[in-house]
């Protein structure tokens, strides 16, 4: 059994009055692909931002590679981040730079490689996501799915030890979806990466994940290897994996019921 690369202890986090995490414990084991699933709005993106040190928890700690993320000095945090790649839900490409320059950016910032080497590396990364011919385009000229693939190439540019994917499959056609699934699995094996994969695409996610965590309403409701989850009898898990509206996981945003709201009339 491999060591945990990320350890989360008793994590609490709120946005205003809204509690997003209410005491979460989690371990992400190194060298594996861990899927984090849960209904929309439960805080999956928030969790990735907490791990990356962009948000501060109200209580609890997050330890990445033996370092407590939220007690690091700035310089150390930045050093740690060089080893973490993150693929944002929106892509987050720099809109004033071309696709090529976007991927070259982290290389230029953090390495002393010469231009010829950078060029080769960028083109290879783009080739891996099927977009080497698109290197001259600007981000505004890409479709949402293409932008996310470019962002993936950028996240891989520095060969990190760990990569966090926020919804990599959204907006991909079946072919690029297949390629992405394969790419994530292969990079994880070839580069001995640790991957955290946030996704709603149950079938694709389960096809590559080694471990699965399901979070709902601020708690981890299921945690185990893929096989544990697939065979689980738990109603939480079954509802999520089989995609049923009724069950313990609420589909509706918490608050007054629709009957109450309709009866109140127009405010």
């Amino acid at each position: 059994m491999s060591d945990p690369l990320v350890q989360i202890h008793d994590l609490h986090f709120s946005r205003g009055d809204k509690k997003i995490f209410d005491g979460i414990d989690m371990e992400i084991r190194s060298g594996r692909i861990t899927a984090v699933m849960g209904p929309s709005g439960t805080g999956k993106t928030t969790l990735l931002k907490l791990i990356g040190g962009q948000l501060k928890p109200d209580a609890g700690e997050i330890i990445v590679d033996g370092q407590n993320v939220h007690q690091l000095k700035r310089a150390d945090l930045y050093r740690l981040r060089k080893k973490m790649g993150m693929l944002f839900q929106s892509g987050a490409l720099l809109t004033d730079l071309s696709v090529f320059e976007n991927i070259a950016y982290p290389l230029r910032e953090h390495t002393n490689l010469n231009d010829a080497l950078i060029r080769n590396m960028v083109l290879l990364k783009l080739q891996a996501v099927g977009l080497s011919a698109a290197h001259g385009l600007m981000p505004a000229e890409l479709s949402g799915g293409m932008a996310r693939r470019v962002a993936l190439a950028r996240a891989l540019a520095l060969d990190p030890m760990m990569i966090m994917y926020d919804e990599p499959f959204t907006g991909q056609d079946p072919i690029s979806l297949g390629v992405l699934v394969k790419l994530i699995r292969e990079t994880n094996q070839a580069l001995k990466l640790t991957s955290i994969l946030v996704s709603h695409d149950v079938a694709e996610t389960l096809s590559i994940a080694d471990d699965v965590k399901i979070i709902s309403e601020g708690k981890v409701v299921a945690d185990g290897t893929r096989d544990d989850i697939v065979q689980s009898e738990s109603p939480w898990v079954r509802q999520f994996i089989d995609g049923e509206a009724d069950g313990p996981v609420p589909f509706h945003y918490p608050g007054a019921s629709i009957e109450q709201q309709l009866l109140q009339g127009v405010a």
Binding site: K49, G52, Q54, Y78, R79, R81, K82, M84, G85, M86, F88, Q89, S90, A92, L93, L94, T95, Y105, P106, E109, H110, A151, R154, L158
Partner: protein, 250 residues
């Protein structure tokens, strides 16, 4: 009371932010290309409106002053008066107001949109400090551009006044220039004007980058921040102008 504490905390945040931006400036000497690129988009693109405005302000000043001066038979001093008004007051102030409207708003909108589209977060996760790479070059470019723009505003304003005063109204060209040469003092007038526009450049750029960085990352938030930049920096420029004038020419 609540409004006041709200304003004070915002001012505090803005000051801390300014400190961080300043700390990022020394780094820029190694990457001066970033600043040059921003001087182009902040400064050069504001040049056209500044020059046109300067030309018209100079021409109007010449017209107005000519009729007043001619009743005293003192039209020879036209050049000197126009020059003093432009260099001491109108150049720095009007150029700064135009700068706030043209460049300041664009800066806020650009930074705000980068925040809304997670580009700033993306940089942070690439272990690149957005304050150093995105904010500081833009701030510095604003500070560098402002005195240059004000100087060009004044220069073209004087040419505008010359064309109206000398070519149109018949003031003697020699008197126009020699009065300027004799009465406009380099330290007292020109240098003080440059100091003013430098201060205005700092204020407008500071407000613009802070509003962008601090905005609520939605379309509406960016729109509001942009408006605030123009309003706050215009008011700040006018208020600061009064203070500086009082100190310089008490």
């Amino acid at each position: 009371m609540k409004v006041l504490t709200g304003m004070l905390t915002r001012l505090g945040r803005a000051s801390l932010f300014l400190g961080k931006v300043m700390a990022g400036i020394p780094q820029l000497f190694l990457r001066f290309g970033l600043v040059v690129k921003q001087v182009y988009s902040v400064g050069v693109q504001t040049l056209f409106i500044t020059l046109v405005a300067g030309l018209f302000v100079g021409m109007v000043l010449a017209l107005q002053l000519y009729y007043t001066l001619s009743t005293f038979g003192a039209t020879d001093t036209l050049g000197m008066l126009v020059d003093l008004s432009l260099v001491r007051e109108l150049g720095p102030v009007v150029a700064a107001l135009l700068f706030a409207g043209r460049a300041g708003s664009a800066l806020t909108a650009e930074i705000g949109l980068m925040k809304a589209t997670e580009q700033l977060s993306g940089l942070e996760m690439m272990a690149v400090d957005p304050v150093e790479r995105i904010i500081a070059p833009r701030f510095l470019a604003g500070v560098i551009s402002m005195p240059l723009l004000a100087a060009m505003f004044s220069a073209i304003g004087i040419l505008g006044a010359y064309s109206v005063g000398v070519d149109l109204l018949g003031v003697d060209a020699g008197a126009f220039w020699s009065q300027i040469q004799a009465k406009v003092d380099f330290y007292e007038d020109v240098l003080n004007g440059v100091i003013k526009s430098f201060v205005f450049g700092c204020i407008v750029s500071w407000i613009a980058v802070f509003e962008g960085y601090d905005c609520i990352p939605t379309s509406e938030g960016v729109a509001r921040a942009t408006t605030r930049t123009v309003v706050y920096s215009s008011l700040a420029v006018l208020a600061m102008d009064f203070v500086l004038t009082a100190i310089m020419y008490n």
